[in-house]
């Protein structure tokens, strides 16, 4: 397997929304990273729709139809529809196939009638349960994921994604206790191992169809940290800890690309700017148009590097302004239009920079994802590119350095909790072994005992 040991981007200034070094084409005449930004929309199926296959199909049809209708009604040149599967859609691969099929049909109809460029992303659910033997590999649930992926690819999905959960057991433990070693083990080692397993399989499935392998997200780990960290005044996880987890997450999410994923990477991977800087693949991101679903502290900054600009799964229901697929596609569609105007008029770099500066010093998490800093973290990763553990470790150290520099130059102020957590974490990380096997052995000893859900067999350890 290829590992990234050099940056595809030669300097950070080259990184900008709507442009990727390796653009991706999908059916229905759409390109990603090819000079324009594509808006994305996704909507969670309503409660009750899981009760039968027919209901779920109706729900998916309805979502697709509403989105298409609004797209042409406001003049969007292109858009992507994503459907994130709920449990039943993945556990019953037949549902996956038929739900995909109906959405593909509707998109194609609008493509034919209006010439609008469209794409259909399907994201089967990672329903595996590590703590229930045989765990992540070879369980019934694991097999269902594979079948569902294939059903989607065969029935019209233009690309496939997943939010895989490998390493969650250890990272959950670590995140909630501020135990940075467990976090690094969960993300850098376990997460990276599981990604290989998951992604080689997806890439193989996609090869058989007119369907692209999209990407993964460190949702299960870095997003968990971000969500628990919450707003400025929340008192759960230190935002500096969450920032380090995010940096590690980039080293892990890169594995999908190394296995053959070509992007656009999955929207909620807030680590995507780093992965783009390293690998040159187009990325989906989300931020200020995901307020429907969550509150982040970098709503504008995440647009700076987006090739696909997304909302976040929202309740499927009526708003005064229409149904939610309509409302939220309009939101992302209008933001993408702004970015495209900037690209067209040669002011893209300026817009990128003000997007970035709006959030660069709002919070340490945004700081490290600002494209210039993301680039630095990317470089730290490729320096140790061949070793998933060491590169995740290097990413965290570089992130810490970036935060400390900002503090020293008086641009960012930390609370005591953030300050202490960071100092403490960096001290621990610096003291860790430089050999992956040694680190893994240590962690196996500690965390098989401390974390009941953790099962080394799931990672062939």
């Amino acid at each position: 397997m290829k590992r990234f040991t050099r940056m595809i981007y030669k300097n950070p200034e080259e990184i900008i929304f709507g442009n990727a070094k390796f653009p991706v084409s999908e059916r229905w005449n759409i390109q990603f990273g090819a000079g324009y930004v594509v808006p994305e929309v996704k909507v969670a199926p309503q409660e009750g729709s899981e009760a039968s296959k027919e209901k779920m199909i109706g729900e998916c049809r309805n979502i697709a139809q509403s989105a298409c209708q609004r797209a042409v009604s406001i003049g969007l040149p292109s858009f992507m529809l994503e459907q994130e599967h709920v449990f039943q859609q993945t556990n019953y691969p037949e549902w996956a196939g038929e739900c995909t099929q109906i959405q593909a049909e509707i998109l194609e109809r609008y493509y034919d009638e209006y010439g609008i460029s469209v794409a259909l992303r399907q994201t089967p659910a990672d329903i595996r349960v590590e703590e229930r033997a045989p765990g992540l590999r070879g369980s019934d649930y694991d097999n269902k994921i594979e079948e569902s992926m294939e059903a989607c690819a065969a029935n019209g999905a233009s690309d496939l994604c997943i939010e895989s959960m490998g390493g969650k057991s250890a990272s959950d433990y670590g995140i909630s206790r501020g135990d940075i070693k467990a976090v690094l083990f969960g993300i850098g080692v376990l997460g990276s191992i599981d990604m290989e397993y998951v992604w080689k399989r997806i890439v193989n499935i996609c090869k058989k169809y007119d369907c692209r392998p999209g990407g993964d997200t460190d949702c299960a780990q870095a997003n968990t940290a971000m969500f628990m960290a919450g707003g400025l005044l929340d008192k759960d996880i230190a935002h500096t800890t969450a920032a380090l987890a995010r940096a590690m997450g980039a080293a892990r999410s890169l594995v999908a690309v190394e296995c053959g994923a070509i992007g656009p990477l999955k929207d909620c991977g807030y680590e995507n700017p780093i992965v783009k800087a390293i690998s040159g693949v187009p990325i989906a991101t989300e931020g200020k148009n995901a307020v429907c679903a969550h509150s982040d502290l970098m709503g504008n900054l995440m647009a700076a590097t987006a090739d696909v600009w997304s909302n976040e799964s929202v309740y499927h229901r009526q708003e005064m302004g229409g149904t939610t697929p309509e409302v939220w596609l309009q939101a992302t569609g209008y933001e993408a239009a702004l970015m495209n105007t900037a690209l067209q008029t040669g002011t893209g770099e300026t817009l990128r920079d003000i997007y970035t500066l709006t959030d660069k010093y709002r919070d340490p998490q945004g700081l490290i994802l600002a494209y210039d800093n993301a680039y630095r973290i990317g470089k730290a990763i490729v320096n140790y590119g061949k070793d998933p553990y060491l590169r995740a470790r290097a990413a965290a150290l570089e992130a810490g350095k970036i935060i400390n520099e900002a503090v020293d130059s008086g641009k960012l102020y930390l609370t005591r909790f953030e300050r202490d957590s960071l100092d403490n974490a960096l001290k621990i990380i610096e003291g860790l072994p430089l050999d992956a096997d040694q680190f893994t052995d240590e962690c196996l000893r500690t965390y098989t005992r401390k974390v009941p859900e953790f099962d080394p067999k799931s990672y062939e350890l």
């Binding site: 049809r61 042409v72 009604s73 003049g75 609008i116 105007t341 008029t345």
Partner: protein
């Protein structure tokens, strides 16, 4: 050259916004050449001219045609049914297809109604309508355009639509039901805090043992889930759906429960709220 002009000169709009309305526009055709319209329009004169004047929303022509017809001894009933109404049917067909627009409809409706009024004067009484309906805007709510459209569509489709206006006290609505015994009632509310009038209306009706076959509730902020939380009601989406709902009550004896279930089928199109 100012800066915005410079930027503008670089812009390829196809990457920003596409005017699909312009892109998909077919060739212009004369309304009377549309095949559906040809099927609807009467072949014989003077009915044809009467219908055409309505089709063109030409009030003056409509009036003089109707007067000519009456002078020539045609029955007012025939003029209404074979001329004016046919013109209006053709207008509705064109509106449904997207060739005609609301102002066309309004002007044609005005022309038709004027013609009907002249005929009714001769008749000495109101002409037979399909049935009586009652429409109102909820108490405390000033937004009445949706209701005005509803009333217009009902009248254009041959209903005797009683219009109670806006900010209508619930007691007046009840009185109107007692008086007119409508085959369909419509309520419009555009606010979360006025749509709550709908269940109160139903409750009052039930208290008095009154009933309407169905009570269409619509308007900007009204949600289907809210409307379906009380009986007798049907959530209404587009004003032009109203006559279709009324027709299905009249012809197919549909109940409010059936209207809820078959809404999309009855109005003949995909309705996101009902999918």
């Amino acid at each position: 050259m100012s800066n915005i002009e410079e930027l503008e000169s670089k812009l390829d709009q196809n990457f920003v916004a596409i005017r699909y309305n312009v892109e998909i526009e077919g060739p212009a055709i004369k309304p009377e050449n549309d095949s559906d319209v040809q099927n609807i329009l009467p072949k014989e004169e003077p009915y044809k001219s009467i219908a055409l004047a309505v089709l063109y929303g030409d009030m003056e022509a409509s009036l003089s045609n109707v007067n000519d017809g009456l002078e020539a001894g045609l029955s007012p009933i025939d003029i209404i049914n074979n001329g004016l109404m046919k013109g209006m049917d053709a207008v509705s067909a064109l509106y449904t297809k997207g060739f005609y627009f609301l102002p066309d409809l309004m002007l044609s409706g005005d022309s038709m109604m004027e013609g009907v009024r002249v005929c009714e004067k001769i008749l000495g009484h109101k002409s037979e309508t399909k049935g009586t309906t009652v429409s109102f805007v909820a108490e405390g709510d000033p937004h009445d355009i949706g209701k005005n459209l509803v009333v217009m569509f009902l009248r254009a489709n041959g209903y005797d639509a009683v219009d109670l206006g806006r900010d209508v006290p619930t007691s007046e609505v009840i009185k109107a039901v007692e008086e007119y015994k409508p085959i369909f009632m419509t309520g419009t509310a555009l606010m979360t805090t006025t749509m709550t009038v709908f269940p109160k209306v139903v409750e009052e009706l039930q208290k008095k043992g009154l009933e309407v076959p169905a009570f269409g509730c619509g308007g900007g902020s009204v949600r289907k889930d809210f409307v379906e939380s009380f009986p007798m009601s049907v959530y209404g989406v587009e004003a032009y759906h109203t006559p279709k709902l009324a027709d299905s009550i009249l012809k197919d004896k549909k109940t409010w429960k059936e209207l809820r279930k078959e809404y999309s089928k009855i109005v003949g199109e995909f309705v996101p709220e009902y999918a």
